[in-house]
Symmetry: C2
Subunit: 351 residues, 2 copies
C-alpha cells in the first residue's frame, strides 16, 4: 500500500499530445467535424488521461459502504440497518448498481469501510473496516486524521489492485445511511457554499427533515471548524469512511492514469477532497451525471466538471457511473471503429 | 401495406393501467421511491406504450436516405454526392450509427428513399425510391401529396415488417445532404417559429451559410404556403422522402404499440408531421437526445417531449437513437431484475 504522500506525488496533468492526436483522428472520420459533440470530447479526455487511444474494455465499479454516527440526529428517512442489508443485496446482485453494471459489462467490487452492524464475512465482500461507522460529526470529529489517511490509502490500494489486472475505467459509488449529510458538510466546507444550498432530501426526508439536516450540517461545521483548503481536515471532521475510500480510488486512478467516473453527490464530495489534496487529479475525473441533490451541481461547478448525463437520479451506489460506462465505451468505439473519409471514399466539404 | 388512413385509425393513447402497474412495481424495489428519476419514468412510459412490463430485447434503427433539390440553393457544406457515399458507408458498417448501434446491440436497416445518384443495388440496401431526390422547395413543392403519402406508407411497412418479427424498440435516423434545411422549414411551418430561430449550421455552413439557409427557408415557406395544421401538406411542400419514411415508422410504432426513439433534428421534424397527423402518436415517441441544432428544442417543446440525453450532438443517422437504446435497456433491466425490499429483507423507511 502506497502512503498518501507518495500517491499524491505521482499525480500529473493531462497528456496533451495524446489528446491532440485523438482529436486529429476524430476529425478524419466520416462525420462533420465535432458533430458528435461531447462524445468526441469524452474520447479526447479519455486519451488525455491514459496517454493512448481511448479504450474501455474492463470497467470496474467500486461500491463502498460505511455507516455514519450523525444518523443519531435523525437525518435519514431509513434506519441504519439498511446499510448492512443493502451490502448483502449488493453481494446477491439485486441492487440497482448490480443490474446497471451487468448491463454495462462492468464488474462491481463491494467493500465494507465501516458498516455499523457486523456482517460476518459474506462471500465477495472486501473488508476495509475503520470502525463501526463514524462518530457523530454534530458533536465532534467524525474520525481521526490518521483514519482518514488510512481509509484513502485503502481505497487507493483496491484501485491499484484492479488496475494491475487490467481495469481501464474505474467507477465510484457508495452506500451509507446518513452519507448525504456528510456530503453536504464536505461540499459546504470545501466550496464555501451555505449549507442550505447544498443540502437536499437525501433518501426522502421531506421539508422538515431537510431543515433538520441543514441545521445538523451547520452544527457539524460550527463544532469542527474544518479548513476547506485542507482536504484531510474536512474529511476527518465531517466525512465518512466510504467517502475517504472513494477519494483514494480517484487519486489512484489519477496517479496510474486510469479514468475515474464520479457517480453522484457523495462521490462528488469525495472528488472535492481528492481535488483539494491534488488539484491535478481533476483531469482524470469524469462527472458521470448530475444528481438531483442540489449540492452536486455546486460540487461539479467547483471541480470544473460538466456532467454527461442528467436524468434526475439520486440513488448513488455507482448507478450513474454504470450508465456512464455506455457513453465511455461509445466514445472509444467511435474513435476506434469508424471509417475515415479517405477509407470510405466519402467527399469532404465543398471548397 | 396499410393505407395511411387505416394506419392513423389504429393509433390509440397510452395504456395507463400498464403504466401504473410498472410504477407500482418500481416502488417495491430496493431504492428510495423514484430515486432513479427519468430512468423510472422511461420504464413507465415504455410500459404505457406496449401495455406490458418494459422490455428491450430487439431494437432496430432505421436509417433512411434521400436527396434534396434544395441543395441547388447552396445550403450545405458538403456536395450531394455524399448522400450516396454515406449510404455505402452505412452498408459497410463504417459510419457512426453502425458503430454505436453495434455497441448497443441494435440492428440497422438502411433504406434508399430517393438518393440522387443511382446506387445500383448494393447488398443490404432496402429500396423505397420516390425519385432522384425531391424538387427544389425554394421554387415549388418538394414532392406531390401522393408521394408524401406513399413514402409514409413505405416507412410504416418497413416498421410493420420488423415488428412482425419481434422488434420491440424502433429507432429513427437519416442521411440526406440538405435535409436540415427541410427540417427547419417543417419546424417553422408546424410550430409557427420564425425560420431564423429554427435554422442552424447543419453540417457546418458558417454564419454566412446559415443566413443563406434562413433566406431559403423563408422563400420555401413563401412560395409554398404550407398549412401547418396539415402534416401531409407541410411534408409534401417542404419535406423530404426520408423524412416521410421516418414519419411512417413513427406512426407504425404508435399503431402497433412499439416505442419509437426519435433521433435528432430531422427525425424531430418527422415527429412533428406524425403528431400533426395523429396527436395520439406522441405517447409512443421518445426523444433520444437534444441536438445542437437550435430548431430541435423548438420541435421537442412543441411535441411535449423531454430529451433523455444532451451531448451537443448534431450528426443524425440515428446516432442519438443508438445511444438511447442503452438507457431504454437500463430502464427495462431495472424494472425486471432488481430485488424488492421484501425479497432482499431490506427495511423500509422509519415510520
Amino acid at each position: 500500500m502506497r502512503p498518501l504522500t507518495k500517491l499524491l506525488d505521482a499525480i500529473g496533468g493531462p497528456n496533451t499530445a495524446a489528446a491532440a492526436e485523438a482529436q486529429r483522428h476524430l476529425d478524419t472520420l466520416t462525420k462533420p467535424p465535432r458533430s458528435l459533440g461531447r462524445l468526441e470530447e469524452l474520447a479526447v479526455r479519455l486519451a488525455a488521461v491514459s496517454g493512448r487511444p481511448p479504450r474501455v474494455s474492463a470497467p470496474v465499479i467500486f461500491t463502498f459502504a460505511a455507516d455514519h454516527g450523525v444518523v443519531a440526529e435523525g437525518v435519514s428517512a431509513y434506519p441504519q440497518s439498511v446499510t448492512a442489508q443493502m451490502v448483502e443485496n449488493f453481494l446477491r446482485g439485486g441492487a440497482a448498481v448490480n443490474v446497471l453494471a451487468r448491463q454495462a459489462g462492468a464488474r462491481v467490487i463491494v467493500a465494507d469501510f465501516g458498516v455499523a452492524t457486523l456482517l460476518g464475512a459474506p462471500a465477495g465482500l472486501v473488508s476495509c473496516r475503520f470502525g463501526p461507522g463514524t462518530r457523530n460529526m454534530a458533536q465532534g470529529s467524525a474520525m481521526t486524521r490518521e483514519q482518514a489517511t488510512a481509509a484513502i490509502e485503502a481505497g487507493a490500494a483496491l484501485a491499484d489492485g484492479v488496475i494491475a489486472t487490467g481495469a481501464d475505467l474505474l467507477g465510484t459509488g457508495e452506500m451509507g445511511i446518513g452519507n448525504t449529510t456528510a456530503a453536504s458538510a464536505i461540499t459546504a466546507a470545501v466550496t464555501g457554499a451555505d449549507p442550505d444550498a447544498v443540502t437536499g432530501y437525501g433518501t426522502g426526508v421531506g421539508d422538515e427533515g431537510r431543515r433538520r439536516k441543514v441545521a445538523v450540517v451547520r452544527r457539524a461545521l460550527d463544532v469542527n471548524r474544518p479548513d476547506g483548503a485542507d482536504g484531510l481536515d474536512v474529511l476527518a471532521k465531517v466525512g465518512g469512511f466510504e467517502i475517504a475510500g472513494l477519494t483514494g480510488v480517484m487519486l489512484a486512478g489519477a496517479a496510474r492514469r486510469v479514468p475515474v467516473a464520479v457517480d453522484g453527490f457523495i462521490a462528488g464530495a469525495a472528488a472535492l477532497i481528492a481535488a483539494t489534496l491534488a488539484p491535478a487529479a481533476r483531469h482524470a475525473l469524469f462527472a458521470a451525471h448530475r444528481s438531483a441533490e442540489p449540492g452536486h451541481a455546486v460540487a461539479l461547478a467547483h471541480l470544473g466538471l460538466a456532467p454527461y448525463l442528467d436524468l434526475d437520479m439520486r440513488l448513488g451506489e455507482g448507478t450513474g457511473a454504470a450508465l456512464f460506462v455506455h457513453l465511455a465505451r461509445a466514445a472509444a468505439a467511435i474513435h476506434g471503429e469508424m471509417a475515415t473519409f479517405k477509407s470510405a471514399g466519402v467527399d469532404g466539404p465543398v471548397p
